[in-house]
Symmetry: C2
């Protein structure tokens, strides 16, 4: 089964049918169990304000769908029939997250409690290779992760693939363009080896932002989350929800022009942020161009930590360009916070001072607090975690997405 | 009476009380009358699906509040009691819009049908003068407009002041900063001569965008509306609603850095869009710096139309800078449309080619259609009209804001 629909799509407004009501009540009960378990059925009834009979029927359905477990009766010391402890099932439905980066493949399975249970990452040079080849390797990694999850009792109920590219709003599994991979108009179902396991693509910066919002404690209700890996993306969370733009292309921070006459970019434009703050540009500027796939960030952090002057200069230059681009984001969107995620999180010590200096010098018309620029705690794990958590969040919002097993 | 609350504030979610239900039904009936008048009470009942008795009670209340008029009985040729024609009252509640620009003051009164009935505009050099002085003149103009409206039978029910500056989300009538006026932290109630008529400030670019959305036929559901007067502002309409940002400062397009090392701006930063595409910059570049207040746009259009080379070069330069800034807006927000409003609308013939060329060269990762860049039909009238219409829209959404007269 694939849990369909975009995370950002809102419920339709109108009179709730009985079916809608039941769906909503299932979500309320599951949410109460997730937030406060162990709870007995009576505890749930007290918390959510539904009758014991209604709660029991809902709990039975949640157990039937594998979302909730109920422990054997345990003496509570209190009079009456002992309550049995309900908990979210950690050995049942699960979300599979996949990631294709410029320099790696990733797979992650989270259980319904949101815990990562399987985590795989393989260094691969994916840029410029045929999409079919890369997707076949991603599918093999997905199958291995799913098998590992199955051995833990986990059943994958949805598959989301994080890609460093633009994904339109309309369904259909299309990656419109991923310049750092060299992809243009790649429809996943055309290349994925197994029709039953085709994942739904989503922009990796969007998933990183959602992971930050869901998993770490909300950084803010309206924030811009910057991700850097091979490329640079950003995602806008507005009022607690991902804003994907009219067509799904919002947050394309990496191609903001920071120097109108700057060097040509892979995208065809000039002076894009990626030409100053992208991984390849920073390595080149730091005279560290010779490196294997995947080591770039660690290498930069190590050299910067050791005081290597060209690396420090390259990171300062990257931070200034990033500060310029973020000035535009702050001016246009007025977020509560800016969050540096992805590889930037690991280089924050060297980037933050120049980003902050640019913001201070350029965001002048309205107040802007330096502490509103923060570092993600998830860093490079964000997009993959967000991909896996998307399925869990959808199930938590609508447990009827789960089959009755 | 002042109609309180921000236009962008959403209704609270929860079980509707009987009072909420009635308020909502009043709005539904008023909306039906506005869209389809003349209608009889029976027609309204047929259209909105409420009983005749309920509609009659609602219509009576709308008449009592002055929102609706009912014409004397007219023979319809049909059997039964002849229906009397309901219409939105064009001689009752009204919205007063005010505007303080760098080079002018404006006042406008619209009736509940949305028709402008009073329109005043006075050229004034407002930049750098004490806020108290400018606000006193605005108050005098407001009083004159209100008197003119009263002679037409109109009763001002709300006052909104369009300012070329940032207005925080929280209520309190504060203009945080308006660099082109030289205002910093101006609270209107501290300076307005009459405590009963203090207007609510709103950013002029926001009001221009709303006027475009309400009055002209929706240009799109998600669009960026650019306004230029003395300064340059933009407003974001997202999903049909104004997005004001976390604190109310979204859309500060004029201070996007388009040349990191460009000339210093009044805001304190360098290379802001206003230094290339603002009125003063274009006049200077066109060697037309000597001009009286308010004539600037007409003068530029006249010289450009006559083929004056420095003017054409200045407008081309402005268009390129604007295209650069809009590239950032498109990359970050992914709107359905960009709308050029304010003074830009009157200079569109000379600006659009270079704006389009920059967008075509720089928005490369995702598709962007040149026709998604459009010109506002309202032009410089937008902010003032939007200010006046805001009150009308609030009343249409909640007719109980009107007193029973």
């Amino acid at each position: 089964m694939t849990v369909v629909g975009k995370a950002s799509r809102s419920a339709s407004i109108g009179p709730a049918s009985l079916q809608d009501m039941r769906r909503q009540n299932l979500a309320v009960v599951l949410g109460a169990v997730a937030a406060h378990s162990p709870l007995s059925r009576a505890d749930v009834s007290g918390r959510v304000g539904l009758t014991r009979a209604a709660v029991s029927s809902l709990v039975d359905e949640l157990i039937g769908r594998g979302a909730v477990t109920e422990a054997a009766a345990a003496a509570s010391g209190r009079p009456g029939r002992p309550g049995r402890a309900l908990a979210v099932n950690g050995e049942g439905p699960a979300g599979l997250g996949l990631e294709i980066g410029v320099g790696h493949l990733g797979a992650c399975v989270v259980d319904l409690r949101g815990e990562p249970r399987v985590w795989r990452r393989e260094e691969r040079a994916n840029a410029g290779r045929p999409a079919r080849e890369v997707l076949a390797e991603a599918a093999a990694l997905a199958a291995a992760a799913q098998a590992e999850a199955a051995a833990l009792g986990l059943r994958v109920e949805g598959r989301i693939l994080a890609v460093p590219g633009v994904v339109p709003n309309e369904p259909g599994g299309l990656v419109e363009g991923a310049p750092n991979l060299g992809w243009h108009g790649v429809r996943l179902s055309d290349h994925w080896p197994d029709a039953d396991t085709v994942p739904e693509p989503e922009n990796e910066a969007n998933l990183g932002a959602l992971a930050e919002y869901w998993n770490v404690g909300k950084p803010a209700e309206t924030f811009v989350h910057v991700s850097a890996g091979g490329g640079i993306g950003a995602a806008l969370v507005i009022g607690g929800r991902l804003f994907r733009g009219a067509r799904g292309f919002a947050g394309e921070l990496g191609h903001l022009p920071v120097q109108p006459d700057g060097p040509e970019c892979a995208c065809g434009a000039r002076g894009c942020l990626e030409q100053y703050a992208g991984e390849a540009a920073v390595l080149r500027e730091a005279a560290l161009a010779q490196h294997g796939p995947g080591e770039a960030v660690a290498l930069l952090a190590e050299r910067a930590g050791a005081g290597h002057a060209p690396t420090l200069a390259a990171l300062d230059r990257a931070g200034r360009a990033l500060g310029l681009a973020l000035t535009s984001a702050v001016d246009l969107i007025d977020p509560d916070a800016l969050v540096l995620g992805g590889a930037y999180a690991e280089l924050a010590d060297w980037l933050l001072p120049s980003v902050r200096a640019e913001l201070a010098a350029r965001v002048t018309v309205r107040p802007w607090a330096p502490e509103a620029l923060r570092t993600s705690a998830l860093g490079r794990r964000g997009p993959l975690l967000g991909a896996a958590l998307t399925t869990v969040r959808r199930i938590m919002a609508d447990p009827t997405l789960l089959p009755v097993v």
